[in-house]
């Protein structure tokens, strides 16, 4: 099949960018979206042009590195990561608009590559459990109720790709934040730092310039890991409890 791509090109963080149009022919429907971009870049290389920069790493949907806005949808039309999106989701002659995540907290470094360090700094502010070094404790010494484990695991499926921020009309990272708060807050090991964690992570989230949540729900529709909105309620509940208890 043949597709027309409208891609955001921006030489570096300081320069202005613009949409450029490219045509890619002989695209197989078995190609992943990123493989199709690889084909485009081979064309561009052959013509002596600068290839389109985009992020990718594992290409199996588990690392959270890739992430493109494709035709107005974070990670494109399927509920998965960009690397696991295949060209069979498009048809011959389609025009595909490809943009980077748009968030002032995620500055564009080049073309489609953004700096998601803001999410790392939110994790550094409190998204961890402090453990003394030494030999690992016996796993069975801390019982975890099954339902709590299930909820913690499903929240832990968040790969920090930033699709929630990209999709949110407010540019909020609340789904990411809620996933981390729920993941750690459901486990016994997460309890000692539960109050300070939520206060510090929310403060860092706001400091990074993310928007406020108005419970619109675009985030959960875009999430490749289908993190539900109730993690944001959990975040709000933990924050309320922490503030009432003077953190």
């Amino acid at each position: 099949m043949k597709v027309t791509l409208k891609i955001w090109r921006q030489p570096d963080a300081a320069s202005p960018g613009a949409m450029h149009t490219y045509e890619v022919d002989k695209v197989s429907e078995d190609m992943s979206f990123l493989e199709m971009l690889d084909v485009l870049n081979e064309q561009l290389n052959a013509q002596g042009e600068d290839p389109v920069a985009f992020d990718s790493d594992c290409r199996e949907g588990i690392c959270g590195m890739c992430g493109l806005m494709i035709n107005g949808q974070a990670h494109g039309p399927e509920v998965t990561t960009t690397c696991q999106l295949h060209m069979r989701s498009f048809k011959d002659g389609d025009e595909i608009v490809v943009e980077p995540w748009r968030s002032d907290a995620f500055p564009v470094l080049k073309d489609l590559v953004v700096d998601r360090g803001a999410l790392d700094r939110i994790i550094q502010a409190g998204g961890f459990i402090s453990v003394n070094t030494g030999s690992a404790p016996e796993a069975h010494s801390v019982p975890v109720p099954r339902d709590d484990a299930v909820r913690a695991f499903s929240a832990a499926a968040c790969i920090g790709c930033g699709a929630c921020v990209a999709a949110c009309p407010n540019g909020s990272a609340s789904l990411f934040l809620g996933a981390k708060i729920t993941h750690l807050g459901e486990l016994p090991q997460g309890q000692p730092e539960r109050h300070s964690r939520v206060v510090d992570m929310v403060a860092q989230h706001d400091h990074e310039g993310f928007g406020g949540c108005t419970n619109i729900g675009e985030c959960t529709a875009a999430c490749p890991k289908e993190i539900p909105l109730d993690v944001i309620s959990q975040l709000n509940r933990d924050l309320r409890t922490a503030l009432v208890h003077g953190r």
Partner: protein, 210 residues
């Protein structure tokens, strides 16, 4: 935002209930209106309760508008470069119209207070000192009924998202079942309140209440 919004929901629910007294006729409606002024006497002065409620509503309004403006400003600075293409997939129409819908409601409230409380405007040109007659005279004008029905549509939309959103913000929807209940509550509150308010103007326009 959530707390002031829930106060407004309680207020509009009581206000809607009071309006339905119009179905009881002239005396039932006017007695209710007068009772609101004498409620709590003699411990409270005349209109004492009314002013306590009014002050509460003014404080809630300031909190609600200030939070909305802060969120709106944050949303603007969080994404200064807009998308060329952006689809809405997981959001309701009501959730996307909260801000402009809120402004619409604010303008309506200003008009509504001028109409029935501060200036008392009778579009038929008749007396304005009798609450029931002012109500009937007003809604016998078709354009006035349309104006109020449009405002109630805006209120219904605002309540549909606002009810669920306030429960979510207060952290009471931390499971899939609780989320479903909150969303159903949004529908119920929107339909009962906006629908209940719409009954009186419609029944006046069609001559049932006169």
């Amino acid at each position: 935002m959530a707390v002031s919004g829930l106060l407004f929901i309680a207020f509009v629910l009581m206000h809607m209930y009071g309006n339905l007294k119009a179905f009881g006729g002239h005396d039932s409606y006017n007695t209710y209106a007068e009772h609101l002024r004498t409620f709590g006497e003699p411990i409270l002065p005349r209109e004492g309760l009314l002013w306590i409620l009014r002050l509460g509503l003014i404080v809630a309004l300031i909190a609600h508008v200030a939070s909305a403006l802060a969120l709106w400003h944050r949303a603007g600075t969080a994404r200064s470069t807009k998308y060329v293409a952006k689809k809405n997939l997981g959001s309701s129409f009501s959730s996307r119209t909260m801000r402009w819908g809120g402004i619409t409601l604010l303008l309506f409230v200003v008009w509504h207070l001028l109409h029935f409380t501060i200036v008392k405007i009778n579009p038929a040109g008749g007396a304005t000192n009798d609450p029931y007659n002012l109500l009937v005279d007003s809604f016998q004008e078709w354009w006035m009924t349309i104006l109020y029905l449009v405002a109630m549509a805006a209120l219904g939309l605002h309540l549909h998202h606002g009810t669920w959103s306030s429960l979510q913000t207060l952290g009471w929807t931390s499971s899939a079942a609780a989320r479903t209940r909150a969303k159903v509550a949004g529908w119920v509150v929107a339909i009962v309140i906006a629908g209940g308010f719409s009954l009186v103007p419609l029944f006046v326009l069609f001559g049932v209440i006169d």
